[in-house]
Amino acid sequence: MGDEVLPKSRGMKPQQKRLLIEIAVVTAIALIVILFVPPMLVDLGQASRVNQLGRFLALAIVALGIDLIWGYTGLLSLGHGILFALGGYAIGMYLKLQIPPNASIQLPEFMSLYDVKELPGFWKPFYSFPFTLAAVVLLPTLLGGLLGYLVFRNRIKGVYFSILTQAATIVFFNFFNGQQGFFNGTNGLTDFKTINLGRWGTCIQSFYPSIKSWNINSWRLVVAPVCWISKEDINSEQTQFIFYTLTVLFLVAAYALCRWLTSGRFGRLLVAIRDDEPRVRFSGYNPTTFKVVVFAISAGLAGIAGALYTVQTGLISPKAMDIAFSIEMVIWVAVGGRASLSGAVLGAVLVNFAKSFLSEQFAATWLFFQGGLFLLVVLVLPDGLVGWLRSQPIQQIKTFIGIRPQVATYPRIEEDPEIQRERENLES
């Protein structure tokens, strides 16, 4: 969708039309996903899938970020897990500080296990909800910006950039794992109880009874994310549904942001950097700035995704900084189709669902299928699912079963096996 850049002058009309169509489609899909999918899944007896879908949609946000830097700009980051986890930890720390006032120790319960008597200084700001929200976005953005600046300034790129981000993963993974008094090590932050939004919560009181029930026949649910009951049980179905709604909204917003970034001049520059960086440099642009900016934006998206994922999973642990997880993120984009925003979203959701279905069906051997899938995608569908759909699959199937495409001229060249073979040889 809209990855081709149309000439600007006369093409305004069709471009606008396409944009409108796209907006309509996205809005429709979002509404369906918010309003119809959950009750449908519940009716089908698949209630736990709603939560799954919500989490996977959160992952789709980070996939969008990856697509932005990898698909469009050609930077393969294997360290997005850090940024994802930072967002998760930020919100997790806030939630861990929701300690009932009558508790014997005013500390997250794990700290006493490690002889931490006083709340570490950097935890304290996380009492504040606005600060937490800012931290969820800004912490990863700043880290991404800093890392990006250091790396791109030195013109480290390609494979080296990937490996450097891997090294960063190791640093953060071991730090969060090792500093157990601060972050509870391998266990991570878990067992969140309530979410307290203070003044935010008062306005919803009257709506509350109507969103108690799970079946989504009340439009008021859509209003729910704005107003919030204070001290809400975070694991209750309605809170979780609010997170689900928020996730979809954020995904739409992230999609819009990425779409906006990639369609204009900025987007064309990104693609130019991907395809020929020296030439961009020679044309008078400074690719470093663009790369830093786009990396920081992608980091911010990862942070938001991490926070949304954490509240829906009820857990954030250093596992999210594991290299495996970061590589998986890239694979979602590869499966969906790089340089295609809808592909990134689709890839994240499909791969994760495939993973959970496969591991349910073949608990002991599902890794075979997962590994096979990656191999297959890279070898057979180098442009991902969306790329394949774009390249006229019907024609391909026709060719495969022997119906040849209509050829206007020179049929001999197209059909002669000798020439075909020669051509293949030449190409390889």
Binding site: T27, G45, A47, L113, N177, G185, D191, S317, S356
Partner: protein, 446 residues
């Protein structure tokens, strides 16, 4: 320019679309469907999963579904795979003997992939989708902590078979592995009496070893021992040269090593000990995560003469154990061995079965009540499920023998009662847990 228009239009059309659809929805609000609506008076309990009793009974059919949730892939599969084997053996035996309440047990096996969010996800899936009546699962504390909120929220039931650090007592979990006072504390006492006063503590860098070492240090301070050093290796790390150097520096003339390493690191650690010349006569090592399975993976040559503390060894001499070992080898092959977590996993399936039979239903609350006080003639001896949801267990210390099994050098005469809230840790001193009395609950001051 163009995208500015686009954005404005986006907001305009978006809100228009949202508005219309909201209106439409509001006008055509259908009556609540019967299947999903919750009773208005239900208060805090949301509609799905909140009434587990009706969920489980509606499962019906000729089989009873139970969940098995362990890591079959990833780092932890090294240990957890054999626990699954033991659970499946118990289920098979029960089914062969006629099942529970006249129904066969059907196990739904899920892979936690050594990944904690996956554990939480699969726990939800087992409860909501498969409507299992109970779940047997988890190994690491991290995975247990990850699923704990799920089980608490859905008021469901988890059986957990591994020795752990304590400091937890959930109404929704039954712990059939050892609490610290059933493994670590007796082991330290035994070492103080028989092996020496100077201890070096080695552990993996996560919650169990850290808590265990906190306890050990307090215990040593109280009983006249001395901690000369402690060090931690990240899970899965195999470079042990720095730690060996530290041990040699701290204990130049020998001393006791207390080892709470988990998984792969044990292999590297014992190989490193051996190559550095730290032999068991001068540096006796007490391990609490090395059992028969691990000996097989490390190589018995590296371990002969070292010690381990457990509640069960394959060499325990009881009729029940003979039967257990025989049945296990018959099903999985002669070269397989049994160990403590496997035994705990095996007995928890039976305990659950007994509780169901006593309650005459698989509904969660009656079973939970009926489970307390169940006794079972386990391979390790007769064990009882106490009212703090932990199991009373026998404590044993074994020395690794030439055949790769343990020679039991110490065992308690009677089963030791579990103490989940540790009395050596300041924060939990004086607390206890009792689920048979609604006024006491998970943590009350004695």
């Amino acid at each position: 320019m163009s995208h500015q228009i686009g954005r404005r239009k986006f907001i305009l059309y978006g809100s228009a679309a949202l508005g219309t659809s909201l209106l439409l929805k509001a006008c055509t609000t259908p009556p609540p469907e019967s299947g999903t609506a919750s009773t208005p008076g239900a208060g805090s309990s949301p509609a799905t999963g909140a009434s587990p009793v009706s969920n489980t009974t509606s499962g019906g059919g000729d089989t009873i579904k139970v969940g098995i949730l362990h890591s079959l892939s990833g780092t932890m599969s090294i240990s957890e795979k054999s626990v699954v084997d033991a659970e499946q053996l118990a289920i098979e035996e029960i089914n062969a003997a006629g099942g529970v309440l006249g129904k066969q047990i059907e196990a739904v096996v899920e892979d936690g992939n050594s990944d904690w969010p996956t554990f939480a996800e699969k726990a939800k899936k087992l409860i909501d989708q498969d409507k299992v009546v109970t779940v047997f699962g988890c190994w690491t504390s991290a995975s247990r902590k990850a699923v704990l909120p799920v089980f608490e929220q859905k008021k469901h039931m988890l059986w957990y078979p591994v020795q752990y650090e304590g400091q937890e007592c959930s109404q929704n979990i039954f712990y059939t592995g050892a609490a610290p006072n059933q493994q670590i504390e007796p082991a330290v006492d035994w070492l103080l009496q028989n092996k020496g006063k100077e201890f070096f503590l080695v552990g993996s860098n996560y919650v169990f070893p850290k808590t265990a070492n906190t306890i050990i240090k307090a215990q040593l301070a109280a009983k006249g021992g001395k901690t000369v050093g402690e060090d931690y290796i990240p899970l899965g790390n195999t470079e042990v040269a720095p730690i060996i150097a530290k041990i040699k520096k701290a204990l130049p003339n020998g001393g006791v090593i207390f080892n709470t390493l988990n998984g792969d690191s044990n292999v590297a650690f014992f190989k490193g000990m051996q190559e550095a010349g730290l032999t068991p006569d001068k540096y006796p090592t007490m391990s609490v995560s090395v059992a028969e399975e691990e000996i097989k993976a490390i190589g018995k040559e590296y371990l002969v003469g070292h010690y381990a503390a457990w509640n069960y060894f394959q060499t325990v001499d009881t009729p029940a154990n003979k039967k257990f070992v025989e049945a296990f080898k018959k099903k999985y092959g002669d070269d397989r061995v049994t160990n403590d977590p496997m035994e705990a996993a095996y007995i928890m399936v039976y305990l659950w079965k007994q509780a169901v039979e006593k309650a005459k239903t698989t509904d969660l609350e009656p079973v939970r009540k009926a489970a307390i006080g169940q006794t079972f003639d386990a391979p390790e001896g007769q064990v009882t499920l106490e009212n703090n949801h932990h199991l009373s267990k026998f404590v044993r210390i074994g020395e690794v023998a030439d055949d790769g099994l343990f020679k039991i050098v110490f065992e308690t005469k009677t089963a030791v009662k579990p103490i989940p809230w540790n009395q050596f840790v300041a924060d939990t001193k004086g607390f206890a847990c009792d689920w048979s009395d609604p006024n006491k609950g998970g943590k009350y001051k004695v």
